[in-house]
């Protein structure tokens, strides 16, 4: 009996490879594990038209032959083991018709191993609906191989594939690119070290991150090659990928076209609306409006519950634990400080819920594509959109995400302007100030507080773009980069993924910020509960002795004593020292303290005020109530008025209040020059904008 024909099914994940395997083998298949590893092995048999038996192996999905997982390593090892029983006589490379370019990368790698290969273009039934045209004959000529259009859904093209398998000996085994052209020195040395071996096989062995163990003995020795796993390898891998894309680009536009105006599927129709030059922005605006309205309307009940719970906990601690300074620290420092951040869990969770839904559904990629048109006019790369959008979570990873921008000027501008986008650390500050100074009423059916929050997000983004425009005029460099994005298919978000993201992000916010807030709350309580002068320690006697206080009720007297003591505590003295500088902005010494502490991290602002307002105050009131009724000691007027609130919102929108971001900017630019410029310009501009706003509105 003749040896069956070995057929390997190879392809990117989600190309419908397994459906084709099922169509080829029917029920003649078995599933097991590869020896020694937990990678599933699917193999089966099929009978070709001339009666030849074919042994078909469905190899794990992989994007390329540069393995990064056990599954992918197994694919490479199978293709490099000519003496093993699974080594294919012919490889069937399954490609998805919508992502042909990316799929062809893997195809060219397999061709370069000189394995006879057939390209199966799957999901061919979608071509007409998606406006795709493919010149199969010309593609066959260009890649010097056979191409077959298959629809695993409609079961078409399988018989043609079987005919081609039968005739596999006629397939050309020419190479697509020559490795020596990439770097003569390196590849000449490699070939001279192993003159008997095929150069591309040698390259695949030396370029893997993990040594390949299940390959032919003669290739095993290559694992010990001295120039294996060096930094140079990564550079050469990149050059190889570029060379492959250049090879594909040379012919692809002649053989493969997508005319989205002819597409009739719902994805294309939706894309036409969501990426339209006018409709796209309208849709984006409406989605944002919905998100910010929902953040406000849905989270008010849980927020009130959390706020009241912390007040009750603080009250319980003060009344039931043994009296003393540590009890005061708990009741007036730690519990209100932590409560000041925990209260924002509902709104932060809702924000991340919506961001996650946008990402999961595939709409986020359309937003990035849409905004690219705007970005280019302001000297930014299309790639800058990703840091700017991820900056809504946190500027630190966003600044780091600018690394993939090749042009130094575009990269530097992106790094410098990204901290303007509204990060989640600003959210608690915005939420408390908006709640204090913006009326909770509706305008044209929309919640005014929600509209204000949305306006602040838009302001941050507009400021980032405006700053980029200015920097583009100042910094000189003419080189430009290109923006390429693959639009994923629309899909219903998986509840598990969305939930995981919401929990992870919220947890990260609470525990990451919580540690700093706890530490700062302890220090602040200590500074607010201690002083060095008689004014602090004899506050009771001094206040009672003052003639104007003689008529005060017991409760009013207690408040007057606490206020006098706080003013003469360490923190009061510090606050009063800096008050002249911040007075033009409409702030008093308490806000001044919060500004200083929140330089470490913006979210500390709310916890600082929560601690300051808790020391010596009535425990039954919520922090919001205490802040809303507080008066400016100098003017006697309410402290948190509309002008002060707007001034504060502008200050936090523009100021560089984040030490960690400055550290990352220093690291990414390799210089203190840029973070210092960023700090001075951003904070200086914030000071001016806040002062002008307060002086005009008061």
């Amino acid at each position: 009996m003749s040896k069956p024909l070995n057929v390997a099914l190879i392809g990117n994940p989600n190309t419908g490879k397994t459906s084709i395997f099922n169509l080829l083998t029917g029920l003649n298949q078995k599933v097991g594990n590869y020896p020694g590893i937990t990678v599933e092995k699917k193999e089966g048999t099929c009978r070709l038209p001339n009666g030849t038996k074919a042994h078909v192996v469905d190899l794990p999905g992989t994007y390329s032959l540069n393995a990064s997982s056990a599954d992918e390593q197994l694919v490479v090892e199978t293709l490099l083991s000519k003496n093993k029983k699974d080594y294919p006589d012919v490889a069937v490379v399954v490609a998805d018709v919508e992502n042909l370019k990316r799929n062809l990368i893997l195809f060219t790698q397999i061709k370069d191993l000189q394995i006879p290969a057939i390209l199966v273009v799957n999901m061919a039934d979608q071509m007409e609906r998606r406006g795709i045209s493919l010149d199969v004959a010309m593609l066959e000529k260009k890649i010097q191989s056979k191409v077959v259009l298959v629809s695993s859904r409609k079961r078409t093209g399988i018989e043609q594939l079987k005919n081609l398998l039968e005739d596999y000996r006629s397939l050309a085994v020419s190479k697509t690119i020559h490795m020596a052209d990439i770097d003569h020195d390196y590849f000449d040395r490699l070939q001279q070290a192993f003159p008997e071996q095929d150069l591309y096989s040698l390259w695949l062995v030396v370029s893997q991150d993990v040594p390949l163990t299940k390959i032919d003995d003669e290739l095993q020795s290559v694992n010990n090659y001295s120039e294996r796993a060096t930094p140079e390898i990564k550079r050469l891998q990149q050059k190889e990928t570029i060379a492959r894309y250049l090879f594909i680009n040379r012919f692809l536009k002649d053989v493969y076209q997508v005319d989205s105006s002819k597409a009739t599927d719902w994805r294309s129709l939706l894309d036409r609306v969501l990426t339209h030059r006018v409709g796209g922005y309208v849709a984006f605006f409406l989605v944002m409006l919905l998100i910010f309205q929902a953040i406000y309307n849905w989270s008010s009940v849980p927020m009130d519950f959390i706020d009241e719970s912390f007040v009750r906990l603080s009250e319980w601690a003060g009344n039931h634990l043994p009296a003393g300074p540590f009890t005061s620290l708990l009741a007036e420092g730690i519990i209100p400080g932590i409560g000041g951040i925990v209260i924002f869990i509902p709104q932060i969770a809702f924000l991340f819920l919506f961001i996650s839904l946008l990402e999961e559904s595939g709409y986020m990629s359309r937003i990035v594509f849409l905004m690219d048109r705007v970005m280019r006019r302001f000297g930014l790369s299309g790639k800058s959109v990703v840091p700017l959008i991820s900056g809504t979570a946190c500027a630190i990873p966003a600044v780091m995400a600018a690394r993939n921008i090749e042009n130094w000027k575009e990269r530097l501008i992106t790094i410098l302007v990204t901290p303007f986008t509204t990060c989640s650390a600003r959210l608690p500050v915005y939420l408390i100030i908006i709640a204090l100074v913006i009326p909770d009423r509706t305008i044209l059916g929309f919640n005014l507080q929600g509209l204000t929050l949305m306006g602040l997000y838009a302001l941050g983004f507009a400021m980032a773009v405006f700053s980029a425009f200015i920097l583009d005029k100042i910094l000189k460099n003419k080189a430009r980069t290109f923006f390429v994005i693959e639009m994923p298919a629309y899909k219903l978000p998986l509840a598990k993924n969305v939930l995981y993201t919401v929990i992870e992000k919220t947890k990260s916010f609470i525990f990451g910020a919580g540690k700093i807030i706890l530490a700062i709350s302890i220090v602040l309580w200590f500074l607010a509960s201690n002083g060095y002068s008689d004014d602090f320690y004899k506050a009771d006697e001094i206040v009672r002795a003052q003639v104007e206080n003689a008529q005060l009720s017991d409760e009013e007297m207690e408040t007057a004593i606490a206020s006098y003591q706080l003013r003469h505590s360490y923190i009061g003295i510090l606050g009063h020292t800096i008050e002249p500088v911040i007075r033009p902005l409409g702030y008093d010494w308490k806000i001044g303290i919060a500004l200083v502490t929140s330089f470490a991290a913006r979210e500390v602002f709310v916890a600082t005020l929560a601690t300051i307002y808790s020391v010596g105050s009535d425990e039954e009131e919520t922090i919001k109530v205490r802040m809303s009724t507080d008066t400016n000691a100098r003017t006697g007027e309410k402290l948190f008025t509309f002008p002060t609130g707007i001034s504060l919102l502008l200050f936090y929108a523009f100021a560089m209040q984040c030490m960690s971001t400055l550290a990352v900017v220093k690291k990414e630019t390799n210089s203190w020059k840029w973070p210092l410029i960023q700090l001075v310009l951003m904070t200086g501009f914030a000071y001016l904008a806040s002062m002008i706003a307060f002086q005009l509105l008061k």
């Binding site: 043994p322 003393g324 300074p325 540590f326 009890t327 620290l329 932060i348 991340f352 991820s390 809504t392 979570a393 946190c394 500027a395 630190i396 990873p397 966003a398 780091m400 990060c423 989640s424 650390a425 992870e504 992000k505 919220t506 990260s508 916010f509 990451g512 910020a513 540690k515 700093i516 706890l518 530490a519 700062i520 302890i522 220090v523 200590f526 470490a600 991290a601 913006r602 979210e603 984040c658 030490m659 960690s660 971001t661 550290a663 990352v664 690291k667």
Partner: protein, 46 residues
């Protein structure tokens, strides 16, 4: 009881100061990657 509470306060204060100084002034120059700061967003500068 009062003295024990005082000791606890000073211990908490020392711990808090140690944490803040270590975090902002003696931060290890470790290699940053996505996981150092959440995956796509660390949600706050901490």
């Amino acid at each position: 009881m009062w003295s024990i509470q005082n000791i606890l306060v000073y211990l908490a204060l020392a711990g808090a100061l140690f944490f803040l100084v270590k975090k902002y002034f003696f931060k290890k120059n470790k290699k940053m990657n996505g996981s150092d700061c959440g995956d796509s967003g660390c949600s706050g500068c901490h």
